[in-house]
Symmetry: C2
């Protein structure tokens, strides 16, 4: 299981690159395979599946690995953060094959870290990550997590904030957060981090337009201490209270 990072080859870890180089088979969703430097795929069996083909993807990767071929499943960001590592492990377990393949995960720079870096320093204190996709999780569970995380004053990272099919979720999440945070709370929006067409901006909870987000966007809502510094978003860790800065 290999995480490719946000997409720029400069953010692909050498360990991940070597794993792909060494593999005979590379499996992934088309969009993620496109992030793999071309030269790494030359001469390999490349298995590409569609967006909702996660189960098929794992099935095929597992079959290859069980047949003794060195197989890499690539994910964008980190393979373990809403990535494929869990599903592969779950399917190996369901078939009683966990011990039969040499499973390993190579970490990558998760989308939330790429977005945070481009925004400045929004994650310098405790944070919670919530996916707003209800394909696999009931909306009530998602909304409750957003509500309690906001109440606990976590910085909130929203993954999969908005798709056409569920255009209203992000607005509802932001409304829920607004019960616990002031209208001036900074909100960072990053789309296509480190890829062509990258967009980065900071707005406020009151000024936030959910229409700006899609499935390639990460939204980060500050905690009660988050503020802006120039065009950057900054969550102080607390040094300012303790030391004279």
């Amino acid at each position: 299981m290999v995480g490719l990072g946000p997409g720029d080859a400069g953010l692909l870890a050498p360990m991940a690159r070597r794993a792909i180089e060494r593999a005979r088979v590379v499996v992934g969703y088309g969009t993620y395979l496109d992030l793999v430097p071309r030269e790494l795929l030359a001469g390999k069996d490349v298995i590409e599946t569609g967006m909702t083909g996660e189960v098929e993807r794992c099935e095929r990767a597992m079959a290859e690995a069980l047949a003794g071929r060195d197989t890499v499943v690539v994910s964008g960001g980190d393979a373990g953060v809403y990535g494929m590592a869990g599903l592969v492990l779950e399917m190996l377990a369901a078939r009683g094959c966990v011990g039969e393949v040499e499973f390993s995960v190579i970490p990558g720079i998760a989308a939330l870290l790429g977005a945070a870096a481009l925004l400045g320093a929004p994650l310098t204190h405790d944070f919670a990550s919530v996916s707003l996709s209800d394909l696999l999780t009931p909306w009530e569970v998602i909304e409750r997590r957003v509500d309690l995380a906001a109440q606990a004053d976590f910085v909130l990272v929203l993954y999969n904030p908005r798709s056409k099919r569920r255009a209203g979720h992000l607005a509802k999440a932001v409304e829920t957060i607004g019960k616990w945070r002031g209208p001036d709370t900074p909100v960072g929006v990053v789309r296509r981090a480190y890829r062509p067409g990258q967009e980065v901006f900071v707005t406020s909870l009151a000024g936030f337009d959910p229409g700006c987000a899609d499935m390639l966007t990460i939204v980060i809502v500050g905690n009660s201490a988050t503020r802006t510094a120039g065009t950057w978003m900054l969550t102080p860790r607390g040094y300012g209270r303790k030391y004279r800065l």
Copy 2:
């Protein structure tokens, strides 16, 4: 601001490596400077400060940058996750210098991702990250965050779980989590990830001994669906409910 990742050179992003190569001055806490491949520091001004010297470190880095020298501040993991990016930005803002230096953050593989990868797939669903250090945050705030995150059924990542001075915090946090989670909930413990002396194991909430952790440890407590698969820790995303695996 450069994140070095967990410590293995194979997990240092090429973009981070290039930034260090290009810099004239490299600033960091000794333990983090030790993670920088030696050849990258040759011929540079290296400014090393002690563990609680964060403010001094930023002060000196800022002075170098304002004097026009290309300066890199290195952090372990990601520079923005409990790292130095926030403090540098805060100090630049306090002095009205945000626009006077070309500030940027290069993301790195945060400690929580390194730990998760070694454990399997504990972060495949929503998670919250909490630092148990009360040096800069009141313990009541920390405990409340742990409580609400557990109530919301987040996977919980605990940073800085235990120091000599506050040996009891981890036990209290685990007790708080135990109000909302069963005794069999898997708990993953990773110490010195991807460094010499690495330790990785999975235990349960009931079997967890806080004494096993120190400041170089990341503790990950599963959500209500987290389970083990062989020696791995696995948080299912929900495919098992939707598809026949």
